[in-house]
Symmetry: C2
Subunit: 241 residues, 2 copies
């Protein structure tokens, strides 16, 4: 527990705080219990959410490491904290979808739960003031958010993460509907998976019952939010007997 | 005036009616005086609008023909009517933009009037129930609205139309901000430019004063809608002395 680290807050997001550490290349991430939706219009504080999302994110990043998918993750340092490599975040939300749900259902008129013929990758502009709008690649080029090669690499990484997580979740009897990733550039300009992977950023449905086990429980006032996150954590960490 | 044609109405859109003719490959288009915006929520009837848009569309299609850009246009048959080749419309709105305005300004946060570094082509899903949403190419593939080759061809045609119209309008002291095209497939599966090109489907700004000379006068309650359409028609058809 590196409690002698400087405590300068670098950035406070909706669900996490980022602190400077003694090592300029390393940040400390503190997961908060805050739950927000609809660009911050809906807010609550959910006991243990920070702890659970920290643990779940660590689990996923460590799993992806074994699949040769690099991330900013360095190590867990407390129940609600982890150290990560400092990266320059690419202001794109990379969304990978296996099944129609949420904004995709609204956009193309496919009912929630309809399996896509193949996974798709979407890009959204990480800009709260603009409401995180969908971008076509033309817009990404116009805004110079990523080069042609980076766009292709982001798609490739998104699909690789999807392949790894979809089969992992399947073994836990959970259907991976969709998820949002963020990537950053390290000092050398290499792309690294960053941010978090948790029920805040994924849609998880129980494969048997279809029960929603993610942030949609909060968005849609379904109740049992923390219980769902706990369920995800338990299924991920339980030993298969 | 082929008034012995059967009068079966094939389709009535917001601004035009399509009629079957004796020739199964030819349709008669009648331009209406109806003005609508915001997916039909705003409505008015503007005297001479149908006549002006028919004439302006004919002018543009004939001009594009000289630039080897084929369209469905056959010939004008009355002040408000033209004959066109029957095509199967691809349900995509192909939007070409030279300058930030309208929904692009809202999406990416660029002020209206900001010149884009290069023209861009956007695709929207022609679906009133869904509100004509922006589509990324991933969505077009998912919905099987167009093949990979067709998507590329639509972009190429859109940019070719832009090149032809931008320089034409410049010679009329009008800045071509953006426009929406629709394309269809003929019997042989060839892509043909279809629908209309008019102040209903383009943004035109006077190059000197910046005065809006298009449907935004209607959308934004600026008044002088028909006068603006008349001004476009006059500038297009006046002899340069």
């Amino acid at each position: 527990m590196e409690r002698d680290m400087p405590e300068e807050l670098l950035y406070e997001g909706k669900a996490k705080k980022l602190f400077i550490t003694e090592d300029p290349q390393i940040l400390r991430v503190e997961y908060k219990d805050d739950a927000t939706a609809f660009n911050g219009q809906k807010f609550d504080r959910l006991k243990d959410k920070g702890l659970l999302n920290n643990a779940i994110t660590v689990f996923f990043f460590e799993h992806l490491e074994t699949k040769d998918i690099p991330s900013h993750f360095v190590r867990k340092i407390s129940e609600t904290e982890q150290l990560v490599r400092r990266v320059k975040i690419i202001p794109l939300e990379v969304v990978v979808r296996n099944v129609a749900a949420g904004s995709l259902s609204k956009r193309i008129g496919w009912e929630e739960g309809k399996e896509l013929p193949h996974p798709i990758v979407e890009f959204y502009y990480k800009d709260d003031d603009l409401g995180d709008p969908l971008l076509a690649e033309e817009h990404i080029r116009l805004l110079e958010l990523a080069s042609e090669a980076q766009i292709e690499e982001l798609k490739k990484r998104g699909l690789a993460v999807n392949e790894a997580l979809e089969s992992l979740m399947l073994s836990k009897e959970i259907r991976l509907i969709d998820f949002k990733l963020e990537f950053g550039l390290d000092q050398k300009g290499e792309i690294l998976l960053a941010d978090e992977i948790s029920p805040d950023t994924c849609r998880f449905w129980d494969i048997e019952s279809g029960k929603i086990l993610d942030k949609d429980r909060f968005r849609r006032d379904l109740g049992g939010v923390t219980e769902a996150y706990l369920e995800i954590h338990q299924r991920l960490t339980e030993e298969i007997t």
